[in-house]
């Protein structure tokens, strides 16, 4: 008899992936313990916030959780557009066809409300099979026996053994990294998103977007308002607020030395926003998160021993041009991992469930969505700098502008944007993100001269408005190399730090040593929003804070 507590399954993280896994495990009669590090599920979570239910997917969130759309979601997306911006010129395409491709429904969500609702349902379901959900518990590592993963270790609990360990612990999964399945090495494998949730009366939302109570919009923004940083912006309508944010390739943020909060402000204060935001800008919450690029990092074999990875932890976040789908894939993956365990239950091979899970991801078509073949083929030519430069020069030339800007091209482009096949081919270069939209905006766009009076809060005010329970004396990030060369990128790339701002996580300091003066990077983890950016762009030893500690999102 082992000295450790034992559960048939331990699920780490109670976001949509963990919730789906736990609910499905409970349906299979599996004794399931869910460990969530937040004070409540959703308090550590951020998303842009659209959740899809795909026609082709084997599982959907409302299929697993009755009443999800009515009780946990915000507005459905009934109008989907992309705005190509050049200066104050804007050309808008309707992307509803692309949006509705393979879509049963799609709702905007705020994660605190959504995930806490899921937590309650998951606790009910898992309690029936001898388990339940525990919050304020941080799983800090893997329990091994003779080198084999057999359970988890926690800050707040004694080690726990399990026959199945589901790592649904998000984009910065410490379990995936400890198992050697994921890393934090390459900035080009990640996006960074920042978001403002803007308070708005439901009547104003309806009026400004021309919608009813049970309707909503999704707007995307690309072009030159973010200068040369590759990425785009979004606006989604919630019941009584807007989610407005920007998502950029992390390597591009680093290369351009861009400040994420300033890029967000560029969107918030653009004339195109004036009508929607109106006067009296009231920001409820500023948030940030890393987004894995599934095309590059979705793990084809996301398992090791009894451990399986689900959702962001496995890189299962599909971000391709205007398509941004993460939560739905996490739900599918979580449910499939549970099914894989149920099918192989009792099998002596500890990797039987993991292998079956990987096969189910393939067979269900999920992996093909996360890692589209078209992209793999296209990127070999498309992402070379010389190709990008040549294409960009042609597009920016009078000839190119005529080609993109004529009425025929307009229709072709709108159709092309709406083709799931073509979109999945889009190489990740500035051509798609900046050049094409800018040329379209320039040639076809109408000038918008509305005055935008929005005054977004300063970074200091944004940090001041966030809720923190700081683990005093026990910082969760350690700066291993304080040289500017190794860690200087964090000063601007960190969403709660800025070059000229001393109150953020990262700053540079002049340090005198033996008569020499040297610039060093210093770190204060108090304002940290746990996004993980610095784990990639700086040299750190990065962990999550203890259970219940650190930032607590109220909106998410």
């Amino acid at each position: 008899m082992s000295e450790y507590e034992h559960y048939e399954a331990v699920v780490v993280g109670c976001g949509p992936g963990g919730a789906a896994a736990a609910a499905r495990l409970a349906e299979h009669g599996v004794e399931t313990l869910v460990l969530e590090r937040g004070v409540e599920a959703g308090s550590k979570n951020v998303s842009g916030g659209l959740i899809y239910a795909e026609d082709s997917a084997p599982y959907t969130i409302d299929g697993l959780f009755d009443g999800f759309r009515e009780e946990a979601a915000e507005r459905p997306v009934t109008d989907y557009r992309i705005h190509n911006i050049a200066g104050d010129k804007v050309k808008t395409y309707d992307l509803t066809d692309l949006h509705e491709h393979d879509t049963d429904w799609c709702d905007a969500v705020l994660r605190r409300k959504m995930d806490s609702w899921l937590e309650a349902r998951v606790h009910e379901k898992t309690s029936e099979t001898g388990g339940g959900v525990l919050t304020n518990v941080r799983v800090n590592g893997l329990l091994r026996e003779d080198g084999e993963i057999v359970g988890v270790t926690c800050d707040e609990l004694d080690p726990i053994e399990a026959d199945l360990i589901v790592a649904a612990d998000g984009v910065n999964s410490e379990l995936a990294r400890e198992a050697g399945l994921m890393d934090w090495e390459e900035p080009d494998e990640w996006f960074q998103g920042v978001k403002a949730v803007v308070d708005m009366d439901p009547e104003a939302v309806n009026h400004r977007f021309g919608i009813d109570d049970n309707e909503g919009v999704a707007h995307l923004f690309s072009g030159d308002l973010f200068e040369d940083v590759r990425g785009g912006g979004f606006l989604y309508t919630n019941e009584e607020s807007l989610s407005i944010g920007t998502v950029f390739h992390l390597d591009s943020l680093v290369a351009e030395q861009a400040e994420p909060h300033e890029l967000l402000d560029a969107l918030l204060t653009h004339p195109v926003m004036a009508h929607w935001i109106g006067d009296g800008y009231d920001e409820r919450e500023y948030a940030a998160k890393l987004v894995p690029d599934s095309k590059k990092v979705a793990h084809r074999e996301p398992y090791r021993d009894r451990l399986v990875l689900v959702g962001d932890a496995a890189g299962q976040m599909q971000a391709q041009g205007p398509i941004i789908k993460g939560m739905n894939h996490a739900v599918t993956a979580g449910a499939l991992a549970a099914d894989a365990f149920a099918i192989t239950r009792g099998n002596a091979d500890p990797e039987a469930a993991g292998r079956r899970y990987a096969k189910l991801l393939e067979d269900s078509g999920t992996m093909a969505k996360l890692r589209p073949k078209q992209y793999e083929l296209a990127r070999t030519v498309g992402e070379r700098e010389t190709v990008t430069n040549v294409v960009d020069r042609v597009l920016e030339s009078p000839l190119g502008s005529v080609a993109l800007g004529n009425p025929l091209a307009d229709r072709v482009l709108e159709r092309a944007y709406n083709s799931p096949f073509l979109v999945s081919m889009l190489p990740d270069t500035r051509t798609g993100y900046t050049t094409v939209p800018t040329v379209i905006g320039e040639a076809r766009g109408k000038s918008i001269r509305w005055k935008n009076d929005a005054e977004p809060p300063t970074l200091e005010e944004r940090i001041g408005d966030l809720t923190y329970d700081t683990d005093v004396g026990n910082p969760h990030i350690e700066l291993r190399d304080a040289s500017v060369k190794a860690s200087g990128a964090a000063v601007y790339a960190c969403p709660v730090s800025a070059e000229a701002f001393g109150g953020g996580c990262y700053r540079t300091e002049q340090v005198k040593t033996n008569g020499d003066e040297e610039t060093l990077v210093s770190l204060d983890t108090q304002p940290c929003v746990e996004c993980g950016t610095c784990a990639i762009v700086a040299d750190t030893a990065w962990e999550h804070p203890r259970g219940g500690k650190g930032v607590e999102y109220r909106q998410g």
Partner: protein, 283 residues
Amino acid sequence: MLTKGVPDFSEGAVSFDEDGHLERGKTPTVMNPNDAFALEAALQTRVRHGGHVSGMSMGPPGYAEVLEGAMESVYTDDSYLLSDRELAASDTWATAITVSSGIEKYREEVADVDLVFAGFKTADGETGQTGPQTCWALEWPIVTHVIALDIDPDERRLRAKRLVEGDVDEIETVEAPLPCMVVTDPEFEPTYRKAAHRLTHKRLRAETQERAAEHDEHLTTWDHADLNLDPDYIGLDGSPTIVSSVDPIPKAPSEREATMIDPDDGAAMEPVLEELQPFAGGD
């Protein structure tokens, strides 16, 4: 689980008359703060080993609220209040006689008792005598200043760590047979390192919300007749000690001047920061 209501001595709640005497009627009653640790110890024992936890108090009918608070905070199953006019003005001796009679009656009529938990002295009396005297009356062992404890249900023994304060603080590990009284030290902190214990804790909390909302239905009140106590041996008549007078200790006037500064007022904070500058580390 024994608890007592005391005047709320916290800043702003407590009220004194011109002579410095406590105005009992104007000061709200709260649970004796030290009892919170005993409650946590009772809850921890129940979470780890199962069982039934009852709250018991002696005092006026208003103390039912204190017992209700215990139900809300540490999920007691039911409450027992020893209350009538004959019990008023009891000293520690009369209180111990009454409380021990309450525990005996509980054992006869409700269920056998393995453990009694009590806090370390009350905020109003500060004697620290009632617990030991109650134990003496019950002829039970008592373990005081407990900062951690565990029970071996098979051996029916308790093992506890006691904080012994002196020139050098020591932690003593003691064992005692059940039934036994446990008096917690304010340093007592419950620990729940097993997932199963935390799940039990969460279940108890969910179950208690409904129960605490209808506390009256779970409250039993016993008077001196129920407890079969002779009025000559309880209350004021049964109390060998009386408090003859209370002398307030006047607060020494402050010798230093205090200036109030609004921390949001940048200009006003300026000199404060300048004063602090020499004490700040680094540059």
